[in-house]
């Protein structure tokens, strides 16, 4: 039966229908819904891992134990999982093993725009690149077959417009999961140097066999049309190509590593002009040029940065694009913002006031860097808040600067890779104030469970890690609770943490209002008392606004948006704000 599902949902269904036995992953846009959907389908065991390295290692274990296994993550997650990946390529697999990675060209929700195809080349393993939901569904099964036939992990790579775009899928006949033997094989799975040397040779031989496979597999498909123009492409770019040039000849690559050299050479020879369309890096183009084949149109006309679309492809060939009015300029931007009544708001209101350096991390709280807060000054990767703050404090000490950095990190990010930074900080007698915003949700990706929420991916009760003893066990003596809804207490606590030498940890335990659907009565502004001083606007809440008219506009609260946290009220020196009893329309 036909269904409309996203690429992520299609991978989940393909895994469930394709003999999948075990899946693990870490949430990360645009990959997150894959594992959530495996859980929703409810037929195959799956779980959130503490981070991507753990997820891939667990999937490796699943494969060694004889079950078809899947690890899911976003592109930057593969950096975390790169350590096991680069040796997994040597050991190979027992049952089929897929690493699903979701790239984010255009950086809709990511800190960089890295192209995961490099990892397939780096690890010398096959990579599949689906072009729509049906492809994504089908390729899971093919990836397992390749994995088992060639004794290799397989990367299944999507991009945002595959993971999140919905299309029609017709499911295939289901394969029932078979669990094979749990094999002891020391030379295969113990990568001591002597065994590794043998395996490296096998990796190179495997790659040669995969090159032959690439020549004949239907994953790589020639669609001959007008021979004036031939386009080599893959993934969502294939769809943009078809949109722009329905009649062109196309070599659609489904297996994007290793490339089918003979097939490419033959295709190039059968068309007059050759174009390569690929998002981000010139990975196909450079390899095709290295084959001695001339690419007339590629990255000389198409961007390395951001997404590709049909108009960019038309323009690259000098074809007209649909006439569109220019976008209206000068409109107020509408960036994402802390939810009404989010606990992060009080924290960043105070950090902004104190003007201290804040070493930030990956999560909703990264929005604390945006105006008007502007209270986050570096954000690199998961966990860097604490380790970078430690380095800053060390250099500050050497420079004689008497300023203690603040690190801000969320619960899920702390469990992911903040703990090791804090351990190292304690070990080396560092000097930073670490604020853990423990709202018991992996918020930015949609509120997924983590080791601190007390629930598994399926929502079943599980051991809830106790944050305070955990932090103490890592070597921190000064650990105190924080309540960011109380601005005066928050300011006092942060000041004390900054004045006290050495490692100091504050933990805010207020839950995510969105995830846990917390409702409070809306606020209103007494227009007679409001002086229009705008002090409350510093909390950056979209429920607040100025009355449109008047010389000195006053503040008003949108009762359809306010969720009554009262942080803005604490900014008001004129007692102009109060709750409306029983009223809550906030559309959270």
């Amino acid at each position: 039966m036909k269904k409309i599902i996203s690429g992520n949902e299609a991978i989940a269904l393909g895994f469930t229908d394709g003999g999948g036995v075990f899946a693990s992953g870490y949430p990360g846009t645009p990959s997150t819904e894959t594992l959530e959907e495996v859980a929703r389908l409810g037929e195959v065991y799956c779980e959130w891992a503490a981070n991507e390295k753990v997820a891939l290692e667990a999937a490796i274990g699943g494969s060694i134990a004889g079950g078809r296994s899947l690890a899911t993550m976003k592109h930057v997650g593969v950096n975390v999982a790169a350590d096991p990946l680069m040796t997994l390529t040597y050991t190979g697999v027992n049952a089929g093993l897929i690493l699903m990675v979701a790239d984010d060209p255009g950086m809709h929700s990511s800190q960089n725009e890295q192209d995961s195809r490099h990892y397939a080349r780096f690890a010398k393993i096959p990579m599949l690149d689906p072009a729509d939901s049906q492809d994504a569904y089908d390729m899971v099964r093919t990836a397992f077959e390749i994995s088992e036939q060639f004794d290799t992990p397989v990367m299944l790579r999507t991009t945002t417009r595959i993971s999140h775009a919905k299309g029609v899928v017709v499911p295939r006949e289901k394969i029932s999961p078979q669990v094979g033997e749990w094999v002891k094989d020391v030379p295969k799975y113990v990568m001591l140097p002597n065994f590794g040397k043998i395996k490296h040779v096998e990796v190179e031989e495997r790659l040669l066999k995969l090159r032959e496979y690439a020549e004949t597999t239907p994953l790589n498909r020639v669609e001959m049309g007008d021979t004036e123009l031939g386009i080599i492409t893959s993934g969502v770019s294939y769809q943009h190509v078809r949109e722009a040039f329905p009649n062109a000849s196309v070599l659609k690559l489904g297996l994007v590593h290793p490339l089918p050299e003979r097939k490419i050479r033959e295709f190039a020879g059968s068309v007059k002009r050759l174009m390569v369309v690929e998002e981000m890096d010139a990975i196909f183009e450079e390899q095709i040029r290295a084959m001695g084949i001339e690419v007339e149109i590629g990255k000389n006309k198409l961007p390395l940065c951001g997404e590709i679309n049909a108009d960019l492809i038309r323009a690259a060939l000098g074809d007209p694009v649909a006439e569109a009015a220019a976008p209206v300029e000068g409109l107020p931007q509408r960036p994402p913002v802390f939810c009404p009544s989010c606990a992060h708001r009080g924290l960043f209101t105070i950090l902004s006031k104190l003007k201290t350096f804040v070493s930030g991390d990956i999560g909703c709280y990264t929005l604390g860097a945006l105006p008007p807060m502007g209270a986050m000054h570096s954000v690199i990767d998961m966990g860097a808040s604490i380790s970078a703050a430690h380095g800053m404090a060390r250099v500050n000490a050497i420079a004689g600067r008497d300023e203690k950095p603040v690190a801000v990190i969320g619960d899920s990010t702390f469990f992911h890779s903040g703990m090791t930074g804090l351990l190292s900080l304690a070990f080396n007698g560092g000097n930073a104030l670490v604020i853990i915003m423990d709202n018991r949700a992996t918020g930015m990706t949609g509120g997924q469970e983590n080791p601190g929420t007390g629930k598994t991916l399926q929502g079943n009760p599980t051991r809830q890690v106790d944050m305070v003893p955990l932090v103490k066990a890592l070597g921190i003596d000064n650990v105190f609770e924080l309540n960011t809804y109380d601005l005066a207490a928050t300011e006092a606590a942060i000041k004390k943490g900054l004045e006290t030498p050495g490692p100091y940890v504050l933990i805010d335990r207020n839950p995510c209002v969105l995830r846990y659907k917390i409702r409070k009565p809306a606020m209103t502004v007494d227009q007679d008392k409001c002086t229009g001083c705008r002090a409350c606007l510093k909390v950056a809440c979209m429920a607040l606004g100025l009355t449109a008219s008047g010389e000195r506009p006053k503040v008003q609260v949108d009762p359809n948006v306010c969720n009554g946290c009262g942080v803005c009220r604490q900014m008001c020196k004129f007692d102009a704000m109060h709750e409306i009893e029983g009223e809550n329309n906030a559309n959270l």
Partner: protein, 190 residues
Amino acid sequence: MPIFNIVIAGVGGQGVLMASRVLAESALASGLDIKQNEVHGMAQRGGSVISFVRMGEKVASPVVMPGSADLLISFEPLEALRYLHYLKPGGRLVYNKISINPSTVAAGLAVYPDDVEDQIAASCGNALGVDALAIAREAGNGKAVNMVMVGTVLKNLPLEEEVVTEVVKQVSKEKGVEVNLRALAGGAAA
């Protein structure tokens, strides 16, 4: 039929994605191919959201290019203006007249233009503004704005109205069916 391109714009939390789903499922139920795509990831409320729904015999790209939308549905006036350039000449715009302050305006860093609707009227000769919140509340729930907005474009879709109504029934939670159907009808009558 040529491919019919719909752009749905709004603010995170308004139900843009559910409206997109209703349109996509209705197209599938009508025997059409579809691609639907929105950019989501930042779970917070308050960011600008844009969703594409494309329907036709065979749809390739999930992305609608500027200047090629047959229909723009905006859940908020400023967002209508922001994405107006997606409409093709003569394309239809229906927008909800109830504004929501961007965080930049709430923080006093920017001003919400007081002539948004005039600017829309000046640039688009085929625009309709409705008070979707009032219609949704009348239907029984202010959160049904998304179904009101679907209702407002029923006549503009290359789909039978009955098919859309049936899909709304299927995708609604049990207790929400009646409210959603009233919201849909209220939007259609606006």
